[in-house]
Symmetry: D2
Subunit: 406 residues, 4 copies
């Protein structure tokens, strides 16, 4: 274990990763570089500096990655209308590759030969961090303390803290929740505790980012989202940066009881797990993007996107953001977005996101053809006969040869 | 045109299809058999008998197809979690093959050599009726008056009625809406009129099957759906037949403001069209089925279903229910449903369908493994390292050879 | 029919399209512009000029499109390893969009309001020409004489020629074959005649571009193909332009009995049809490209390509080259080809194309890891245990719950 | 390591697995049950009995699994036209689940608590054996000596033999090859040695099951394969059991120089590896099955199969035969095969498998429609216009709105 000289740790400033700092120092006799990112988790990151210093860390990185996160990760993913297993908006998954990328950049800058993180050996995050890291720097060493150490219960962990003088109040406020939580600009997640019974309904006070539909205002909120090349760029006519857009939509959505999810998902490591999520802005963006596409995207492009989407979502869920296959799919998706421009009007009301209008200079909705009224010859109804006849030909031949489809 | 002797018409009893009866008699000098089905459209079908008689029809079929419809069409489709273009629950599409099938059965019983329907040449329904018919009886002739006649405006149609003594009040109540509507047990649809502007929000009184979320009760309704082999069989513990189940869920859902959709879809004939839909029961069933699958379906089976779904939905939307490729997909889907048994608990509140619990004797959710607590060795966290290392191997080799994934 | 002023005809100089010139002049009282392209069909195109003149045509286009054809159509398609229905290399399909594109360009240049072609109403080519044309110029009119006229038998056609003084020797040599043939740089095809019995083996003298395997040399020919970004750029070390490359490979392949295909395919218009094809150069290029990819392409990129390929091939077969969905797939495919560089060594012998070597500076084949010998720690075999354990986890849980996979 | 009482070993009778017998006895102090299967590898299995006895084994299983192998594994796979990465016919992959299944059956019969195999930690076979075993008996323990022991060089292995009195001539004839070989009724494979250079052409005397095309007869061999429900059941009119069919086709194919493959494949464990394969009968069966399908399978069923195939092949390659997702795909595939009946005529000549005829009572090839001659109205060419017009509609609308597809 003496072959590690310096390790970059994804450091939250919380108790667990503070223990990891010390454990790395003790176990590997190596220098620890901490890296704390603001990706919109809703907690101050600056306090992590003093905690890291107190642990003897000399190289401390604290970065505001919010704009990069939304612009280069969240937005490209939303172009795909990505949903994992029909429900999950990938709020944790999409944040991990950015952390991995920054860990590797810092390893390069500081000459570190390893990275470390606080994810457990049962979850998806270890996979996402490590696949990202290996893809960007194949020779990097990875230390995943939760897979190595024996501090597997709260008691042993506390004992370790006591022994090493790690202040337990590092744990912070968040840990007073009975749930394991994680947050970034796209969502906040809850796992563990009573949620481990999938028949158990979470109590109201678990949720932190949204009011309940019941508690939301009795009058709806209308908003207009403006799109360019598949990305939301204006809200009610005002241009917003990616991070500001998502922050604002989180606020508006949360105020209207939007974006709660309660589901059982299939982890890449092979087990099912219960998760609850709040994704207010993402929920709005998903509906809005589909609505924008509904008038601007060609039918077959849309269908191809729909068929590729589950695969794309799975790649991100499983941690393959930095992979050739994700890049291929992204190239196909991005190719489709050149004309996804315009405005979507939405009504937000007690948990509902209702699309009530869409318009675009690039609209393919052709009233002259679609109308139930006289179309002045824009569409020749007689064409439909030949269309149907030839589409039916193979079926008729088969039926003629005695094949039944009943 | 003298080669048609007898034609079976899908007859609603409304004005348009009543005109068609007369037009067929006049134009083809043929006998007309009318067929009127109760598929849950919410209107009496028996009155069609007198109207048909008044038009001189001698063979009149009036069938209650509600149970067959839900059991053999709706339920198999819901096993697939089918959604067209991310939004549409295929409420019109799935009813058409049943009508086509019954038209052909009646043609066989009555010795008719043709079928006819009242769908226009611009829509999907003509395709669905005719593909179904051709697939089941390849030599059948199809008469689609809207593609042939010149009664293309309300005026010419009325003039025709006046000339032939067709009572205009055949139009019935439904036509007082400014929208073109269609309904069956799965949904009611609205098209045309102001909806032809996709930026226009429909007025509240358009909707017929549901109250608005605003008008829905202030207290939530909880229900439990019991599943067997992927189909809902009990509601709050009581066994319900397929049609009764859907009727009941429509009622409960509609009362809670659930199931409204407003979208622009891509028709098979090549144009975009605006449609509004109310699918209260279907919206509940879709969420419930996914929730049931979430604890009972294997991960890769679920993912395969998700990847096949858009294609399956497209087949149904385009009218290929009676096709070898739909049967193949159905075989795959049905193969996956043997263990989709159990109970889903749902909270319905002002437009929201919230899954709040799921349980099953066939659950694959393994608390012993999934737990954040000590798992007593059920899962060896060290396995994750090898798992990640080998999954990363190809990425590391590529990176070693200088390929960047940024 | 008086609304056509000028029509651009895809003119081969043969009898059928010569008749079409006259028929268009007679029927539409319009000016006809002829367009004859050299796409490597192996016949002089210049003689078409005199024939067109003799028919009174004033605007005559004769273009050598061979380089554009291979560079912009054949090569992009081969990057996808496109095969239709497991066998067909799309030799006819891929030539059509280029013809459509040039027809539209000439229509734009000459102010023509229509295009015309000599494809029948039963085949795929009409679809490919017309979809291409409509996609590039949506208001263009299309005249497809074979779908309109009554010259449907050889006799009526000959009578028409006699009546209008069209020299019948326009038919040329090619028509002495009992087969309907078509050729371009990628292949020559045979249809009709005895081939309409799928159990009938074509006689040896049908084939024109290749010797039989029996008649091919008794000693093999070795060649080396050099690739850049997925395209073949050198043959035995010598740089060749796209058209020259394909011409040369056709010659070498044909001399070695390579590239004959005899199959029954499914046309887009709904029927099955028997076709025989000679694609000597294409057959070599397909094997070589896959071999080049086998050492340079990432596994998951390769698998994604394989899963997308049938769909891509179908798009081209059905005539959707100029479509958003083809562009999306092309974007994904091209994204994958940046490192498909290197050399493939092939042995050609009596119909066989045998890959006997591949090498590349971008090879991902890592001998140090792949070796059966001691790998000096490049790969840790113990990682496999965790890899297998976690991949098996979902299967074990299911088995534990009593599910059998037998 | 004392917790293993009895282990069932997949025992070839060769040196490596003989060493494993002793190593298991020594290391785990457990009883070893040997299992040797005849799956058509072309070597006597009975001699394994004496060798096992000499090693002190008391429970010895020697089974002839050839018919089960072809009937229940090879034939279902060939219904899918499965090819991995465009080239590989999965000859090794498909044999592994059968071995896994039998290992588990014997474990159940003998009360063993573990299985063991001689596959290395670098290859796919360990994955296939173990996934199969875990899927069938989730609590089984697996011992993979090559991942555990330190006998990683030939020298240490020989030293171990000397020390434990294991007769080195157990190695048998096969090991005199410089290649690592593996065989079963479907194929024989070669890996390692000089093949580790992908640019190196294997010498002629490596190949064991086929003559070279050069050495094959100068006159072709014609055969007729009869199919029922997608499986070959007669050869030249004579009914043959599955194993006899494959053995016979191997002989005929091998005699005609058919079925050699030389490729670089992507292993599931993450590396590329060079493999050479001889699959004479399988190569014939693949071409024949596709030809049989070409006249009997509906177009869209065929295309769906083609799109699912790469995924199906990957599942088998990766070891997921006993999985819900393979069963789902198999259900879809098998659903399509009911009418894949008839006869395919093939010409075999110096490495070429040429389809020269196909016929079937279930043929969908309709000469009356397909003919280039007058079809007496079976097909109305005018239908094509409407077909094209509506298929083009979306493209025309887009072009009208200024979108270019160039």
């Amino acid at each position: 274990m003496s072959d590690i000289n310096k390790v970059v740790l994804a450091y939250s400033g919380g108790l667990d990763t503070s223990v990891i700092v010390r454990w790395l120092q003790d176990t590997y006799k190596c220098e620890v570089v901490t890296f704390t990112a603001d990706i919109g988790q809703g907690e101050e990151v600056e306090p992590a500096r003093a905690k890291a210093k107190a642990l003897g860390v000399q190289e401390i990185y604290i970065d505001d990655l919010r704009e990069e996160y939304v612009r280069d990760f969240v937005y490209p993913m939303f172009r795909a209308n990505a949903i994992y297993e029909g429900e999950y908006l990938l709020g944790t998954s999409i944040a991990r590759p950015l952390i991995a990328k920054r860990l590797i950049e810092i390893a390069n800058e500081t000459g570190a030969d390893a990275i470390s993180h606080g994810a457990t050996g049962k979850g998806n995050d270890q996979v996402r961090f490590e696949l990202g890291a290996y893809s960007l720097k194949p020779g990097i060493k990875v230390i995943a303390p939760w897979r190595e150490w024996d501090l597997t219960s709260r008691e042993t962990l506390m004992a370790y803290c006591a022994e090493r003088n790690i202040p337990v109040d590092f744990a912070g406020k968040k840990k007073k929740s009975p749930y394991s939580m994680d947050a970034n600009l796209l969502h906040i997640s809850y796992e563990g505790g009573n949620l481990e019974d999938p028949y158990w309904e979470p109590e109201e006070d678990m949720w932190r980012w949204s009011v309940s539909p019941e508690a939301a205002p009795d009058t709806p909120t209308y908003i207009e989202l403006g799109y360019e090349n598949g990305d939301p760029v204006t809200l009610n006519g005002e241009a917003l940066s990616p991070a500001t857009m998502l922050e604002t939509l989180n606020k508006i959505g949360g105020d209207n009881g939007i974006g709660r999810l309660d589901l059982v998902e299939n982890r890449y490591v092979g087990m099912k797990s219960r998760g609850c999520y709040e994704t207010p802005g993402g929920t709005i963006m998903l509906r809005a993007h589909r609505a924008m596409e509904s008038i601007t995207l060609d039918r077959e492009a849309a269908h191809l996107k729909d068929e590729l989407m589950p695969r794309y979502a799975k790649l991100i869920y499983n941690g393959y953001w930095f992979s050739p296959e994700r890049r291929m799919l992204q190239a196909a998706i991005d190719e489709s977005q050149a004309f996804v421009n315009g405005v979507v009007r939405l009504k937000l009301y007690k948990g509902n996101v209702v699309v009530v209008g869409r318009k675009s200079d690039n609209s393919l909705f052709d009233e002259a053809i679609a109308t139930f009224e006289d179309d002045a010859g824009a569409y020749n109804q007689k064409d439909a006969e030949g269309f149907i006849k030839l589409n039916a030909l193979r079926l008729r031949i088969a039926a003629n040869k005695g094949r039944s489809q009943l």
